[in-house]
Amino acid sequence: MSLTFGVVTFPGSNCDVDAWHAVIDVLGERAVSLWHADHDLQGADVVILPGGFSYGDALRAGAIARFSPIMREVIAHAERGAPVVGFCNGFQVLCEAHLLPGALMRNASSKFVCDWVHLRVDGTNAPIFLDAYAPGQLLRIPIAHGEGRFVADEATLDQLEGEGRVAFRYVDAAGHATDDANPNGAARNIAGITNAAGNVLGMMPHPERAVEPLLGSADGLPLFQSLLARVGA
């Protein structure tokens, strides 16, 4: 049981190191570095689009990165049903690339926010990412973003809910999706979503920064362990 994670580095990516740390040092799996200008996924089973500020967030976060050469391969990988996950800036790239619906807009506070949040696991259509979590489980995971307000039209939101594709929701310590618990004004407190096939996940919080108690939480680890169990088996 072993997996190769491909971590994409766009110009301006900076959480690629966080992702490597999680994969290599904590999970003990293999990670390959995928340069944005390359055309080859180097045998990666799972592609991670990391956080950061690709292209300096010019125009809109993720808008330019989506056209990087490597994204053609990433899209093909996703279309083959293979797992692709985007954290923070990676989520923004996935929406811009239309692998996920909706868009991420500037936080309602219009300020960058770095903090710890509570998440509730609400997704049901993507066991490859969520299997190791209990349904409705509460997590403590950090966020750090300026453009993380998820928006989509009502029909799309209803569809996401109906198909169990709201993977994570911002909640308070008691598990309720209140306005106060919503750090960026996201529609329906949505923190992360999956595609219809359940093989593409995008989320604003940083599970890769929550993989060791020393860093304040290990609640991000089951996400990687789900992949290991489901894809690596």
């Binding site: 110009p11 190191v17 740390h21 500020f53 292209y55 960058f112 920064r209 860093l215």
Partner: protein, 757 residues
């Protein structure tokens, strides 16, 4: 470029303005300095040369007033790999690893344009660290603002914080610590000091020394534009058609390019293709090239027409003095130019050969075939005049030392003679006042805007760093104040469980030509030196920012200390807040009758008076040993030093600072025979509040090091704070204290902010 061709003699460029005494004066060059320059050249300088000298002989680049005093600082220790004189200091932290760190100010740019001023300050200090070969792993900053009741101060604060956040966040370096203080003396002249800490392997250390005759010099990174050309405020018609109003005086930072430059530079340094690299910082290409040549004691020739520019028609003067950001000067190994360019191109950056290291002892600037500037040897750098300004503090009024008589008088005032306000009958009222003082209150409104976690995995390993200064004390007594600044930084670092190793410092003072200002400067440097010697923490670098004045006079003299320490076992790193009801609370150090210069007097009475607290440097050293040993043995659950607001504020912070996990506490020292205000709010040095489940073990460690220590109370589960000192009891539920502490700055910042004065 062929250096062999014998260049023609230096001649003015067509269109250059005539060198007149007025033009010389506009460049900030005194008649004495001008004579020195003419003697050095043996002729009248060209306009380009005048610009070069105006930059290199400016206070900022030359340290002409401060250098002799700085030389008194201790800089040596076995673990110091690189002391002052390079882009950043470097210390060894064991296991073949080294830490590079430095602090820098961007006070003046931030006063004009807070967002870009602060952002480019962060950019500059990042480059100073990664040009040593280190990967930046943490940013810190120390900020001083005027009274936040003013809409303009709020505009400055919001802009500076956003500037620091946007830049650091985008580059992907966590901003992990710092301090923010407010005082009317900083009105109009905020202080923005940024510090960067980087990590490397010892063998990756590289310096900025030009070497190897025939080696090519490359300009790397962003293109050169017309930004930030200062060279004093010369007449604009002489320079270009653009009118004055259009010439940008501030630089605009581009953190995205910085991130690419960071990655490319580290790759370049590791590639073995280069011999030296330096940031083009203040005075841009001119100072970086001249300083590199001076360090290597070699000649250089540069052709400005080879420099990639952003706009057509830039003059040599402009290209040499531009302070466009995100640029580097690199000396490559001969024949490795293409390899250097390949690395830069991979990161979407430019690299052009613009010059060469030459044997001829000369600093020469070409514009194509024409020589536009030429200085003999390295005298451009070494011949810079040095001054020994008068330093005087006098109790008598003196026209040239206006402030010192006032300071002497303020210092002599007795704080106990200040009548308490009626509300102070309840010490809980006073405590809430202090907790809501912007200087004391929670800075979370600020720190939430910084990404403090990116790369967290790497930060946890090697170091802990902190920046601290004590503002009022330095004003009242610069020597004691600066000693306290270093001691407090050491205490803060030790409170995390780390052993302090070395400091960097930023000296923010007023006009050095005023004897009372220079007195403050000299005394503060001496005080800092005393403390560094006593604590075994040498100075590996720093920065000096003078002329911090506003129409009312100089800012409070503000030496900022950035200290780096090493934690042996990260598992034992402690927090500052109480975590576990039932834990014993221990107070290390002694509480004395010391109310002078306190935040209490400042916040509650609007006074800066009295003598600052005494500091026993040998005692501070023993305190640090105690903390390092006790925390290292894993028995300490939290540690927090007593600083602004004294024991009462420190205890309250231990209870409420972590809003999600507040703990109550009860502390009693019944035999404390001190005036009530000194007991609760006095700022005696050398004190730390610890919480532990094993008080006897902590007390034993303290006893072994001869540090006064006693168990003073217990962490409680119920949300109340009880502090009983010498018969007076302060009792308060936590909620109002937490509200005072956490809501003060957010409430302030919801109010209007504007650039308009």
């Amino acid at each position: 470029m062929t250096a062999a061709a014998v260049p023609s003699p230096v001649a003015p460029r067509p269109g250059d303005p005539e060198i007149t005494p007025a033009l010389v004066a506009e460049h900030g060059i005194t008649p004495f300095e001008y004579e020195k320059l003419v003697a050095m050249l043996g002729r009248t300088p060209t306009f380009t040369e005048l610009g070069i000298v105006s930059a290199l002989w400016s206070e900022h680049c030359s340290y002409k007033h401060s250098r002799p005093v700085l030389k008194t600082l201790p800089t040596q220790a076995p673990h110091v790999l690189q002391g002052p004189g390079e882009n950043a200091g470097v210390i060894s932290v064991g296991d073949g690893l080294a830490v590079a760190f430095k602090i820098e100010s961007h006070n003046h740019p931030s006063a004009v344009e807070p967002y870009q001023g602060a952002a480019t300050g962060v950019g500059g200090i990042l480059r100073d660290v990664f040009t040593m070969g280190a990967r930046p792993i943490a940013m810190l900053n120390s900020l001083r603002f005027g009274n936040p009741e003013s809409a303009r101060v709020r505009w400055l604060l919001a802009g500076v914080v956003k500037g620091i956040g946007d830049y650091g966040n985008c580059v992907g370096v966590p901003t992990v610590a710092g301090d923010v203080m407010f005082d009317a003396s900083y009105e109009g002249n905020p202080l923005v000091n940024a510090m960067c800490v980087g990590l490397m392997r010892e063998e990756e250390l590289i310096t900025a020394k030009a070497q190897g005759i025939g080696n090519p010099i490359l300009a790397v990174g962003a293109r050169t534009g017309r930004d930030g050309i200062h060279g004093a405020s010369f007449a604009s018609e002489d320079l270009s058609e653009e009118n004055e109003a259009k010439r940008p005086r501030v630089q605009v930072g581009d953190p995205f390019t910085e991130k690419l430059l960071l990655e490319a530079s580290l790759e370049l340094i590791r590639s073995g293709h280069i011999v030296a690299i330096q940031d083009m910082g203040a005075a841009g290409l001119t100072s970086s090239s001249a300083e590199m040549a001076e360090r290597g004691d070699v000649g250089v020739v540069i052709d400005v027409t080879k420099v990639p520019v952003r706009e057509p028609g830039m003059t040599p003067y402009e290209i040499l003095l531009s302070e466009s950001q995100e640029r580097m000067l690199v000396v490559a190994k001969q024949g490795h130019e293409a390899a250097v360019q390949a690395i830069l191109h991979r990161w979407h950056l430019e690299a052009e050969v613009i010059g060469e290291v030459i044997a001829e002892p000369v600093y020469r600037v070409m514009e194509g075939d024409r020589v536009v500037a030429e200085f003999p040897g390295t005298r451009l750098v070494t011949d810079c005049p040095q001054y020994h300004p008068e330093a005087r503090e006098s109790a008598q009024y003196h026209p040239e030392a206006r402030e010192s008589a006032a300071i002497v008088a303020l210092r002599a005032r007795d704080p106990h003679a200040v009548a308490p306000r009626a509300e102070e009958a309840d010490p809980a009222w006073t405590l809430a006042q202090l907790l809501s003082s912007p200087t004391v209150a929670s800075k979370r409104w600020i720190t939430r805007q910084y990404d403090s976690q990116v790369r967290t995995s790497t930060v946890a390993g090697p170091g802990a760093a902190d920046a601290a200064i004590v503002r009022l004390y330095v004003y009242l007594d610069p020597r004691t104040g600066a000693r306290i600044a270093v001691a407090e930084a050491a205490r803060n670092v030790a409170c995390t469980g780390a052993r302090p190793l070395a400091i960097t410092n930023n000296l923010n003072f007023g006009n050095p030509k005023k004897p009372d200002v220079f007195f403050q400067f000299r005394e503060a440097v001496h005080g800092m030196g005393d403390a560094c010697r006593a604590l075994g923490t040498p100075v590996t670098g720093g920065n000096v920012s003078l002329y911090n004045e506003n129409p009312q006079g100089a800012v409070f003299p503000t030496p900022t200390v950035g200290m780096v320490g090493l934690i042996d076992d990260v598992a034992h790193a402690t927090r500052m807040t109480f975590t576990t009801p039932g834990d014993a609370i221990i107070l290390l150090g002694e509480t004395k009758d010391e109310l002078g210069g306190s935040e209490y007097l400042s916040r509650v009475h609007g006074l800066t008076i009295g003598a600052p607290p005494s500091v026993d440097l040998e005692g501070e050293r023993r305190l640090v040993e105690t903390l390092v040993e006790a925390i290292g043995s894993g028995v300490v659950r939290s540690a927090h030093d007593c600083s602004e607001g004294g024991l009462a504020v420190a205890l309250a912070e231990c209870c409420v600072a972590d809003r999600d996990a507040m703990c109550g506490a009860e502390v009693r020292i019944d035999d404390l025979a001190l005036p009530m205000r000194s007991a609760f709010f006095g700022e005696s040095q050398g004190r730390v509040l610890l919480s532990t489940a094993e008080p006897d073990r902590v007390l034993a460690v303290a006893a072994r090091h001869g540090v006064p220590a006693r168990r003073v109370g217990t962490v409680r589960a119920d949300p109340v704070l009880v502090l009983s000192l010498g018969g007076t009891t302060l009792e308060s539920p936590l909620a109002p204290l937490a509200a005072a502490f956490h809501d003060a700055i957010p409430m302030l910042m919801t109010r209007a902010a504007t650039a308009a004065a």
